[in-house]
């Protein structure tokens, strides 16, 4: 209903490369420009939008922002942006840089994602073919580095429900499903669903490592996302226009559930 109205209202001083809804109630919108982030306040009742804040991102002139994410914790008061080889976190309440992960990637950070269930945990990926997990309270060294891809990694996504499942897509034509159980919010031996019939087998724990490799694509895979409806489904999209919808392997699923 209000789509038309808003289309005219979203105005920014720069080209916007991507837009994201605020994760809590969708009352705000984050736009990623070349050198700044723009946050709009949406008033759905009146169908109006106003620029809430514009946050310039420090950095060299030729290095544009490659992506940004809302921090799902702390009432979405933070956003993080991938800028050149760094990740910068901004506090929206004051519009200042709150934290930074210097040299998160040797070449260029392509994407980042917050762990939806565990505060302060962040994953980044980029041109050095590596996926890195960080604790933003200690940004000097990564907690874990995955080196499974053989070219740039374009996308990294945590599963919203079972955050040990990490989805990555890369221009080496592969989509990888990896387990990062050691960094997950689910502790070992914890029963997620109490209504399951069998008790958990202590030996059937999910370990760290690659779980599935989707090689259906025949070109660079630029996007990969988890389904918001089903925690066990994900989709990936490659340059040649192929969309592949995959499921988490059954054994993995059982291992996590049981």
């Amino acid at each position: 209903m209000w789509g038309l109205t808003l289309a005219t209202a979203l105005f920014s001083s720069e080209d916007i490369s991507s837009v994201q809804w605020q994760l809590m109630d969708g009352s705000q919108l984050l736009g990623v420009g070349e050198h700044q982030l723009t946050v709009w306040d949406l008033d759905t009742g009146r169908g109006a939008a106003a620029v809430s804040s514009e946050i310039p991102c420090p950095g060299r002139a030729q290095s544009a922002l490659t992506g940004a994410r809302w921090n799902p914790h702390q009432c979405c008061s933070q956003v993080a942006a991938a800028c050149d080889t760094h990740v910068r976190g901004f506090d929206l309440r004051c519009g200042q840089q709150a934290w930074t992960v210097e040299n998160a990637d040797a070449q260029l950070v392509r994407d980042l994602d917050f762990n939806p269930n565990k505060q302060y945990y962040l994953a980044t990926c980029g041109d050095d073919c590596r996926v890195k997990f960080w604790d933003i309270r200690k940004p000097t060294a990564p907690l874990k580095v995955l080196v499974d891809h053989s070219h740039w990694v374009w996308r990294v996504r945590f599963n919203h429900f079972h955050d040990q499942l990490v989805l990555t897509s890369s221009s080496d034509w592969r989509v990888l499903l990896t387990s990062a159980a050691s960094l997950s919010s689910e502790p070992y031996g914890h029963l997620l669903d109490d209504d399951d019939d069998g008790p958990a087998q202590s030996g059937a724990q999910l370990a760290d490592g690659q779980l599935a490799c989707c090689e259906e694509h025949e070109d660079s895979v630029y996007a990969a996302e988890w389904s918001s409806a089903d925690p066990w489904t994900y989709a990936s999209l490659s340059f040649d226009g192929r969309l592949v919808v995959s499921r988490v392997p059954r054994q993995v699923k059982y291992k996590i559930l049981l």
């Binding site: 030729q62 544009a64 040797a106 053989s150 740039w152 025949e218 660079s220 040649d240 226009g241």
Partner: protein
């Protein structure tokens, strides 16, 4: 006739009986009949003989027989007479002799009687003499007893003075002798009722003895006393009946004090050496120069050990031989010796640990040799002495394990330390030569000439040569420890551990490991950024050379030099080789990655910073592309100076080159067709690309490369082109933008074939770049191929 016959018969019978008796013949009842008729038989029956004779014989025969017998009787008679006569003569002479003897005996009897008489006289005289002398003798006896008694008493009375005198003159030996004598005397009279004088005497002498004992014990306390004096004092004190237990603890304490002096000197030397090692001050400024390790062992340790041996010898003489005077003496001695040896060995140990690697192994080896010899020499004297030389020997003989440092362990530790030092020296040398290489490679880098390959190869040779030389020198240096003239070097156990564990494993294998580690360090993200690619290249080649020959050669050299035959339990050659090879692979992969990223960085910036939507019509190849090609040519030259071409696909490559070289040759026909395929309609261009992909293999961008120039360059180009592809996909192009890309891609195509192993790969990647650009183009219209060619030619 008959009468003589009859008488001769009786005679004969008697004779026969006599003979029979003589010969002991027995008449037996079963004698033969003819015996009765035999004249010579003992059972001869003359009646029956005669009867038979008369009965059987004729008269003449009888006559003859009679005559015959008569003759025989005659001769027998005469024989008997002769015999009787002879025996009679002998009897007569015997009788004469007996008569003569009777006369002689008579004479002798008289003389004997005279002798007995004389003897009786003598006995009588002697009794008289002795009777007269008896009285005097008793008197003399008494007198001489008194004399002895008086002498003793005189000695007793003089004793205190004598004792005092002897003590004052420090003639303790004499004093003790006096005392012992007086002791005996006093004991003798101990039971006698004490006279005042005796008591006084006793008190006085006791006083002197107390003084004497005090003086002797003072001497024991005196640190300046020589071992001989100590020994004398202890001997005297023992004679004086002082308890052996306290004495031996005193002697030990004295020895400990004396040895502590020596030990202080030792520790002083250690401190000096430590100070020398710590401080950077020049040597001339220091007042006390530490002795070098040889002198240290030679002078200080030797003096300590000889003092200790001296002490132990005298101690054993005093307390342990011939039988132990004090039950704990032996235990105390060995405790004391153990603690002293422990402190000695730990002092030596700390001194040895301060010995820097700069001194050369030979000096240290000699020092250790001396030490070992000294220890061995002392071992004969010291209780459990062998334990201090070598723990093993001791363990064979005894069940108890002493908690001490053994000399052999010390030597083992020192040599092991030495090996570690050598290892760190080698590592330091590696660092040095690495930085030298880095410097040498950095300096000519700015010079823009393609004629610089020689330095790299030269550097490589110098680097490897230096490495090998250093290892050889180190091992040869370390060999000093196992020279046959060294006493400890010949021990099989030491030799074994030293050669196998220390030199081979710790030094040589350890160095190779370190080298591999260092190489890996260059590949790490942290260290890799700062390293110049040429160093990576050189190191990778060095790894390869090490793998193929140098490691093998050096290990053989070491094994030969140290005569290691049994290789079980040692790191096999193949392991080192594979480690080195893996490091080389890692390095070359890293090199490719670094160089690829450098090139792709250029490409990315050039694509990202340009406004492709408002581009002008392309007039030439963009300068970035030219730079990229130049850069690749330089890398090619650099890699070519170190690595061989790589045979794979080269022939095939060459043949296609020749067709490619003239741009307008027949070979370009196919290209034209390929390129023009995009032109008619952009709808099916994606389809074409997809179909192409179906037949092409998946390209691993950061795949491992082989050790050849072509493979390395292919790796770099793959990375660069993939970057170009990804960057192009992020942009939106106008018509002219697309055409610019077309020109650039063509330029790359005609220039990069030289470097790459598989042309299809190059084509595939470049086609994808152009295809993506077409995808991202608002008005996809390609240029005429001839114009593209012309533009590239002009560039």
């Amino acid at each position: 006739m008959a009468a003589p016959g009859g008488s001769s018969d009786a005679q004969r019978r008697a004779r026969n009986a006599a003979l029979k008796d003589y010969y002991g013949c027995k008449a037996s009842s079963e004698m033969a009949d003819n015996d009765l008729y035999n004249l010579n038989s003992p059972h001869f029956n003359p009646d029956m003989y005669l009867h038979q004779l008369i009965k059987e014989s004729s008269l003449t025969d009888l006559m003859d027989t009679e005559a015959n017998i008569y003759k025989q009787i005659q001769s027998l008679d005469s024989e008997m007479q002769t015999l009787v006569y002879e025996n009679y003569n002998k009897f007569i002479s015997a009788t004469d002799t007996i008569r003569k003897m009777k006369v002689d005996f008579k004479k002798m009897e008289d003389e004997m009687e005279r002798l007995a008489e004389n003897m009786t006289h003598i006995t009588a005289f002697s009794a008289t003499v002795s009777d007269t002398l008896q009285v005097r003798r008793d008197e003399i006896n008494k007198l001489s007893n008194t004399h002895v008694m008086l002498k003793k008493l005189q000695f007793l009375f003089e004793l205190p003075a004598q004792l005092k005198d002897a003590i004052d003159k420090e003639n303790y030996q004499q004093a003790v002798e006096y005392h012992l004598q007086s002791e005996r005397v006093l004991e003798q009279y101990g039971t006698a009722p004490d006279t005042a004088s005796l008591q006084g005497l006793r008190a006085e002498s006791a006083q002197s003895i107390t003084r004497l004992v005090a003086a002797l014990q003072d001497r024991l306390q005196d640190d300046q006393a020589t071992p001989e004096q100590i020994r004398e004092s202890v001997q005297l004190l023992l004679q004086l009946g002082q308890p052996a237990e306290t004495l031996c603890s005193r002697v030990i304490a004295h020895a400990q004090r004396r040895l502590a002096g020596d030990l202080a000197q030792l520790t002083n030397q250690v401190e000096l050496a430590r100070a020398a090692a710590d401080s950077d001050r020049p040597t001339e400024l220091r007042l006390h120069l530490p002795k070098d390790v040889l002198e240290f062992v030679d002078v200080d340790c030797s003096s300590f050990l000889s003092n200790l041996s001296l002490f132990v010898t005298s101690y054993k003489e005093l307390f342990l031989e011939p039988k132990s005077r004090c039950p704990e003496a032996a235990g105390r001695l060995s405790d004391c010796v153990r603690s002293q040896m422990d402190s000695l060995l730990s002092a030596v140990d700390s001194r040895l640990s301060l010995e820097s690697a700069a001194g050369g192994a030979a000096v240290l080896a000699r020092a250790l040799d001396r030490l070992y010899r000294r220890l061995q020499a002392s071992a004969a004297v010291l209780p459990d002495g062998d334990a201090y030389v070598s723990l093993m020997v001791f363990l064979c003989n005894s069940d108890t394990i002493p908690e001490c440092l053994a000399g052999m362990d010390l030597i083992g530790g020192a040599t092991e330390r030495r090996c570690r030092q050598s290892l760190s020296q080698l590592c330091a040398h590696l660092q040095q030569s690495l930085s030298a290489v880095r410097q040498a490679l950095v300096v000519p880098a700015p010079a823009p000439s393609s004629a610089e390959p020689p330095p790299l190869a030269e550097q490589l040779a110098t680097f490897l040569g230096g490495l090998a030389e250093q290892i050889r020198a180190t091992v040869t240096d370390l060999k000093a420890f196992i020279q046959p003239e060294l006493s400890f070097g010949v021990q099989a156990r030491f030799r074994n551990t030293f050669c196998r564990q220390h030199v081979r494993e710790t030094v040589v294998v350890g160095f190779f490991r370190h080298f591999v580690e260092t190489c890996r360090g260059f590949c790490d993200a942290a260290g890799g950024e700062k390293t110049s690619p040429s160093v990576l290249l050189l190191l990778s080649r060095a790894c390869r050379d090490l793998d193929t020959s140098t490691v093998h050669y050096l290990m053989n050299f070491v094994d030969d030099l140290l005569r290691i035959e049994d290789k079980s339990g040692l790191t096999p050659l193949a392991d080192i080789n594979s480690e080195v090879r893996a490091a080389g692979q890692q390095l070359i992969n890293h090199f490719v990655r670094v160089q690829g990223l450098a090139v792709s960085q250029m490409l990315r910036k050039s694509v990202a910073t340009r406004d492709w939507q408002h581009a002008n019509e392309p007039r030439s190849v963009r300068s970035v592309m030219k730079r990229v090609v130049e850069e690749l040519a330089m890398m090619d030259a650099q890699v070519g100076s170190v690595y061989e071409e790589g045979a794979a696909r080269w022939e095939q490559h060459n043949s296609s080159d020749s067709s490619r070289r003239p741009y307008h040759g027949p070979g370009s026909q196919r290209q034209r067709h390929e390129w023009s395929s995009y032109a008619p309609s952009q709808v099916d261009s994606g389809l074409v690309a997809n179909i192409q992909k179906l037949f092409s293999e998946r390209i691993e961008i950061f795949a491992p490369v082989e050790f050849s120039k072509v493979s390395i360059l292919t790796g770099i180009i793959k990375i660069a082109l993939k970057t170009l592809l990804e960057c192009v996909r992020l942009k939106t192009f106008s018509k002219f933008g697309l055409q610019q890309i077309q020109v650039d891609v063509y330029y790359l195509q005609v220039n990069l074939w030289r470097f790459i192993a598989d042309e299809k790969l190059l084509h595939g990647l470049l086609d994808e770049v152009l295809g993506s650009a077409i995808h991202r183009c608002l008005q996809p219209a390609l240029m005429e191929f001839s114009v593209v060619e012309a533009l590239c030619d002009r560039g």
